[in-house]
């Protein structure tokens, strides 16, 4: 077990621990003098009260000292490592894995988890001395390191963290850890990996990093409590190529990624028309919401589906392009030019106006009858 102070530069503040003791001693030593006729009765009174007061004084001193020490530790921000990492004054090699996956876009009220993670990463880097080396791995579906090898330009790393953008990818933790280990390989001194993530269950399930014994691991979670999230998973139009005047069905599949049932309103916008329907999505479940829409023309139009917004708005909206058609292609299997049946069907389709017959000649022999495709 080793302790690592994120704000080691504030160590001189530790002198303040002695402050309560000084206050205690000075407070005792400087009362004004009061000439009294006899202190015998005061002494008798103190015999009783000092039995209570003296331990109370010491307890007060201990509490004051503990309070000041706690405040100083708060500023120093100590971090404990599960593996022994050698001396505190040894050179440190720190790789910060910064989760930039889509789930980090969740907003816990005031700011996104990714913003919190960036701030944490920047503070960790600020706590390093000039002798230390560091690198930042921006983790997503494919992770990338800021420096190809460990570097000591902490300011540049902090700048890259400021410029980092959230991706809509899922996280591949194993590839990020592999990259971090690769960066630390061959470095001298203490080696540490610091993962800053929301540790989304779907990404981290089954991940059991096996690190070399000389590499310490610190996990900093930016998630606080559960993040109930609903998403539009799929939007489909049935039939795919509708004819003008035909009633099409719009299918919106919504999912609930939380342990509590969610009541959500699904709003579908087709051209200028808007339809909404309320849905109660079961915990960790999915459901499909159906909308009916009559197709007015054969020109393509967009369909958008939206959910009432939650903490993660990235998956609350989805779009689809509908491509109606003005004619329905009808395939007719013809067995040569003298196939009267096929010719009659083709004539009938042409007479309908919205059906376009296509005569197909099979390469193999099938029973002599017309087949509509």
């Amino acid at each position: 077990m080793s302790v690592f102070f994120l704000n080691a530069v504030l160590w001189p503040l530790a002198i303040l621990v002695g402050l309560p003791l000084i206050v205690h001693l000075f407070a005792r030593a400087r009362p004004p003098l009061y000439d009294f006729s006899s202190v015998e009765f005061i002494q008798r009174a103190l015999r009783f009260s000092q039995r209570i007061r003296k331990p109370k004084d010491w307890l007060l001193l201990i509490l004051r000292t503990a309070a000041v020490a706690a405040i100083i530790l708060l500023f120093l921000r100590p971090m404990m490592f599960s593996h022994s990492g050698g001396s505190l004054f040894e050179r440190k090699n720190v790789v910060v894995i910064l989760d930039a996956s889509a789930s980090m876009g969740w907003s816990d009220g005031s700011q996104m988890r990714f913003a919190v993670a960036c701030a944490e990463a920047s503070e960790i880097l600020a706590g390093l001395s000039s002798r230390d080396a560091a690198d930042v791995v921006l983790a997503g579906a494919a992770s990338r390191a800021v420096f190809p090898t460990m570097g000591s330009n902490i300011g540049y790393l902090q700048g890259e963290i400021r410029r980092a953008r959230l991706t809509s990818e899922t996280l591949d933790p194993e590839s990020a850890l592999r990259l971090a280990l690769h960066l630390l390989n061959g470095q001298e001194g203490r080696k540490e990996i610091c993962i800053i993530s929301d540790f989304q269950a779907t990404n981290w399930r089954g991940i059991n990093p096996r690190l070399p014994p000389d590499v310490g691991l610190t996990c900093v979670s930016t998630a606080h409590g559960e993040a109930p999230n609903a998403a539009i998973l799929r939007i489909e139009i049935d039939p795919l190529h509708s004819l003008p005047g035909e009633e099409a069905t719009l299918l919106c599949e919504v999912g609930n990624f939380s342990g509590t049932p969610l009541r959500k309103t699904v709003v579908v916008a087709v051209e200028s028309a808007r339809m909404s329907r309320e849905a109660v999505i079961p915990p960790w479940g999915r459901m499909t919401v159906l909308f009916k829409q009559r197709i007015s023309s054969s020109s393509p139009f967009s369909v958008s589906a939206a959910l009432t917004e939650d903490g993660f708005p990235g998956d609350d909206r989805r779009w689809a392009l509908a491509e109606p058609t003005d004619v329905l292609r009808v395939g007719l299997v013809s067995f040569g030019q003298d196939d009267a049946t096929a010719a009659a069907w083709a004539r009938g389709c042409r007479a309908l106006g919205w059906a376009r017959p296509d005569l197909l000649t099979p390469r193999w022999r099938i029973p002599r009858r017309a087949v509509m495709c």
Binding site: A27, R28, P31, P32, L33, Y34, D35, F36, S37, S38, V39, E40, F41, I42, Q43, R44, A45, L46, F48, S49, R53
Partner: protein, 291 residues
């Protein structure tokens, strides 16, 4: 009697004392005929009782009327009136120097001076002992104006001394008092009550009438709020740092127990115990004395 102006016997005090007469009801013994009742029988106008004639008695004292009725010789006896000795014990220990505007010693000196004046004015004899841990000065009994002047001069020169040892001083002074009379102790009684009354035992046994005046300042009786202070003992120089709020209740309790012990022992021994607060005029104490 007092031409020059004394610090502790001011003209206004003398004027106020004009209405007082120091005559405590105590049986005394004395050489000179005076106003006080003596245990010895003698000639005066106060009839005491009859006793049977024994050879050698003065025949002039035989009550012939009783003889006529009973056929027996009886003598009429009368109380012998004599002068009184008043012994003043003034505590001059360092603790008596306590007090903001008026120290306890100054207050006690005013009282002692007026008392001495009253005694001498009444034709009685007054003695003065100034003590701290031992007897510092002893002025034997006297009833003249010169004697009073000497006593008042001594009071003016008197300064707070060392530690209090009232019991020891009382023990030492007992052989110095030749005749019984009134014993008035003016002190702050910072001593063990049991030891004080053990030392007073011989006086009581000899028939002294004893008055104890316990001089205390309001600051001592209430322990005014001073916050956190270093109490320095005026007698020992010992320092105790304490907050007055913390010790006030305990201090008052201890002081009350001390006073109760003194009062209890005084009541049991038929001794008058009076608390003299320095914020009340000492003339009020004379009222207690002549009750």
């Amino acid at each position: 009697m007092t031409e020059r102006r004394f610090q502790y016997l001011r003209p206004e005090d003398i004027r106020r004392l004009a209405g007082f007469e120091f005559a405590p009801k105590a049986v005394v013994e004395g050489y000179f005929a005076g106003r006080h009742v003596s245990r010895s029988r003698g000639s005066s106008v106060e009839f005491r009782d009859y006793r049977q004639y024994v050879p050698g008695d003065d025949l002039a004292l035989v009550d012939w009327r009783v003889f006529g009725r009973t056929d027996r010789y009886y003598l009429r006896t009368y109380d012998h009136e004599t002068s009184m000795d008043c012994h003043l014990f003034l505590d001059s220990s360092a603790s008596m120097g306590f007090g903001k505007d008026l120290t306890k010693l100054e207050y006690a000196s005013f009282f002692t001076a007026c008392l001495a004046y009253l005694v001498v004015r009444g034709g009685d004899r007054v003695s003065l002992q100034i003590f701290d841990k031992k007897i510092r000065t002893f002025i034997p009994p006297g009833s003249t104006g010169t004697h009073l002047n000497g006593l008042l001069n001594l009071l003016e020169r008197n300064q707070p001394g060392e530690r209090t040892s009232l019991a020891e001083s009382l023990r030492s002074s007992f052989p110095l008092l030749k005749r019984r009379g009134i014993l008035i102790v003016v002190s702050d009684f910072f001593d063990d009550p049991a030891a004080i009354f053990t030392a007073l035992g011989p006086y009581l046994h000899r028939g002294f009438k004893i008055f104890l005046f316990h001089v205390l300042t309001p600051a001592e009786m209430e322990l005014e709020d001073k916050g956190l202070v270093a109490f320095r003992d005026l007698e020992t120089g010992k320092r105790i740092t304490a907050h007055t709020d913390d010790v006030q209740a305990g201090y008052l309790d201890a002081l009350e127990r001390h006073i109760d012990a003194l009062r209890d022992l005084a009541t049991r021994r038929n001794v008058d115990y009076i608390i003299a607060r320095t914020d009340t005029h000492f003339h009020r104490l004379f009222e207690r004395l002549i009750q």
